[in-house]
């Protein structure tokens, strides 16, 4: 009864029309056109660069030992894909990175939440974290090799040492950015410490944590591949430094190409997960853009 009268005011004073974000034909189709055209442009750039590159090698404008040759790189790639070694190398690099990044991220997130409650302890260790974080972690590789040998562990620790601080610092920033109005609300509703964390602080730090995770994954690969290049038995980095040492540039480039595909695929997956989890962030964007 009373609610009917209120419906009238709801549509009257508020100017939101949800149907605007529904799929309607012409602007939608235009957007699709535009994105297809952009992608075609990207492909065109790649084709032109590769053609020029191929020409450089064929005409000996530069020694192919330095530049490789696209057609031969494809040949190397085909040869490697049919063998077992490439797949073992990919698995080794991905495994080391994932183990390192996942473990480091879990530690980073948990530690950030613990230290945000123990501000005194945080103040004590903060300068140490700053110092360690500004140390180029790759310089730790010899130490890790000394401790753990040339197997999986060294690489895992190297990628973990890079990933940890990124995730930790981003999580701390996320916790600190919690809206004061939300904390006032939590208090007025009588939320306890756990509820305040679970329903207010944690969700509001998720965007920041995810930004940290995405960076950590990229940095993690840097750590792993660098470790592999210095010393290792298996992995993409091992092969890159091995083939470049033999001046088998096309094989080396094939491995580089695979590395790029692998890291891009993982970064894309993470971004997709973030978009799904944080749909609420883009919820208002349609409205504001139009």
């Amino acid at each position: 009864m009373a609610s009917d009268a209120f419906q009238a005011t709801a549509t009257q004073d508020d100017s939101l029309d949800l149907s605007r974000s529904a799929p309607n034909s012409s602007p939608r189709r235009q957007a699709l056109w535009r994105s297809t055209a952009t992608r075609l442009g990207t492909v065109l750039v790649v084709v032109v660069v590769c053609l020029f590159w191929e020409l450089t090698a064929r005409e000996r404008w530069m020694n192919p030992i330095f530049t490789g040759q696209p057609v031969k790189v494809l040949g190397s790639l085909w040869e490697l894909i049919r063998g077992n070694m490439l797949w073992e190398d990919v698995a080794a690099t991905v495994e080391a990175t994932l183990v390192g990044v996942v473990a480091a991220s879990a530690c980073g997130i948990v530690l950030a939440f613990v230290l945000s409650r123990l501000r005194l302890v945080y103040a004590v260790v903060d300068p140490l974290f700053v110092a360690l974080n500004s140390l180029p972690r790759v310089a730790l590789a010899p130490l890790f090799l000394l401790w753990f040998g040339i197997g999986l562990e060294s690489k895992v620790f190297l990628s973990a040492s890079v990933a940890f601080f990124v995730v930790f610092l981003n999580t701390v920033a996320g916790i600190d950015s919690v809206d004061r109005d939300h904390l006032v609300l939590a208090r007025s509703l009588g939320a306890g410490a756990w509820q305040t964390f679970r329903k207010f602080v944690l969700p509001s730090s998720v965007p920041s944590i995810f930004a940290g995770l995405e960076l950590a994954m990229i940095y993690g690969f840097i750590g792993t591949v660098t470790g592999e290049m210095l010393a290792g038995q298996r992995g993409i980095g091992v092969r890159i430094s091995y083939y470049s040492g033999l001046f088998r540039t096309n094989h080396m480039l094939a491995y580089l190409f695979v590395l790029m595909i692998v890291t891009t695929a993982i970064a894309t997956m993470l971004r997709w997960v973030r978009r799904r989890l944080l749909r609420w962030q883009s919820a208002g964007v349609h409205q504001m853009v139009q």
């Binding site: 609610s3 005011t9 709801a10 004073d13 509703l189």
Partner: protein, 261 residues
């Protein structure tokens, strides 16, 4: 559920100038006494910084007075008591929750049964005229709609005490009028006791049964006006009502002297 009775007795309060540890004191309330009857709508008006919010926080159990006492239904108020509903000027909606999930938040925190949460939250949204927007995120809603979601969140637990701190002050004039009207209709269907802080005299006179004017800091009750306008009221219809304007003029005269002196 009948509205609560609220008693504020000889309350004096100060804050540390730069926070709780600071020895330099700012006296905020200086002997404030208020009695609010069950089901009464009391508006508090006063200059900025005179301790209005502090009084609300005391009634909500968020602050203990340093002197005097505050009693709700004869007891010291407990923080987060489910029979108290708070509404602030800023909606404080959680952006990652849909409108309905925001309204359900107090029920979750009070650990209401899962099936009740959904039912009560959607009922409350319908009551504020946002039934269709249950699954919209706050970013998709206008200011007025967001504050209505916040109103639904305040009402969803069926509180018998409403503490409202300048709840419509952040809205534009037209939206504010729409929300006042809507809130009046909803409230006149129930019997809760309301403590309503505002700096808008017209709003106070239009909504309240009684109005107290606070002095400048440290706050004291400077004047008190019964508002003998018949209920149920419609805020829009009052705009053309002679007795409404007469009372408003009287209140304004007292208020003006306090602000300028």
């Amino acid at each position: 559920m009948p509205g609560s009775t609220i008693a504020v007795r000889q309350v004096r309060h100060w804050f540390g100038l730069a926070g709780p540890g600071d020895a330099r004191r700012v006296s905020v309330l200086d002997g404030v006494s208020l009695d609010v009857a069950s089901g009464e709508f009391l508006a508090i008006v006063g200059p900025s910084g005179c301790g209005k919010t502090t009084v609300l926080n005391m009634v909500g159990g968020l602050i203990d007075p340093q002197h005097g006492e505050v009693l709700v239904n004869g007891h010291r108020p407990e923080i987060g008591a489910p029979d108290i509903g708070y509404l602030f000027a800023r909606d404080g909606l959680l952006p990652w929750r849909t409108a309905e999930a925001n309204v359900a938040l107090p029920l979750e925190i009070r650990k209401a049964a899962r099936k009740d949460r959904h039912r009560l939250a959607s009922q409350a949204l319908v009551a504020v005229g946002l039934g269709e927007f249950a699954h919209a995120y706050p970013a998709q809603l206008s200011h007025g709609m967001r504050q209505r979601v916040a109103l639904a969140r305040t009402l969803v637990t069926g509180p018998n005490t409403l503490l409202m701190d300048e709840p419509f002050s952040a809205l534009d004039a037209q939206t504010r009028l729409a929300l006042q009207e809507q809130f009046m209709r909803l409230w006149q269907h129930q019997s809760s006791t309301v403590l309503f802080v505002t700096h808008d005299l017209a709003e106070a006179v239009a909504l309240a049964d009684r109005l107290v004017v606070f002095s400048q800091r440290p706050g004291r009750v400077k004047a008190e006006f019964p508002i003998d306008l018949p209920r149920p009221r419609s805020v829009t219809q009052l705009q053309a009502d002679a007795s409404y304007h007469r009372i408003l003029q009287q209140v304004w005269d007292v208020f003006k002297s306090e602000v300028t002196v």
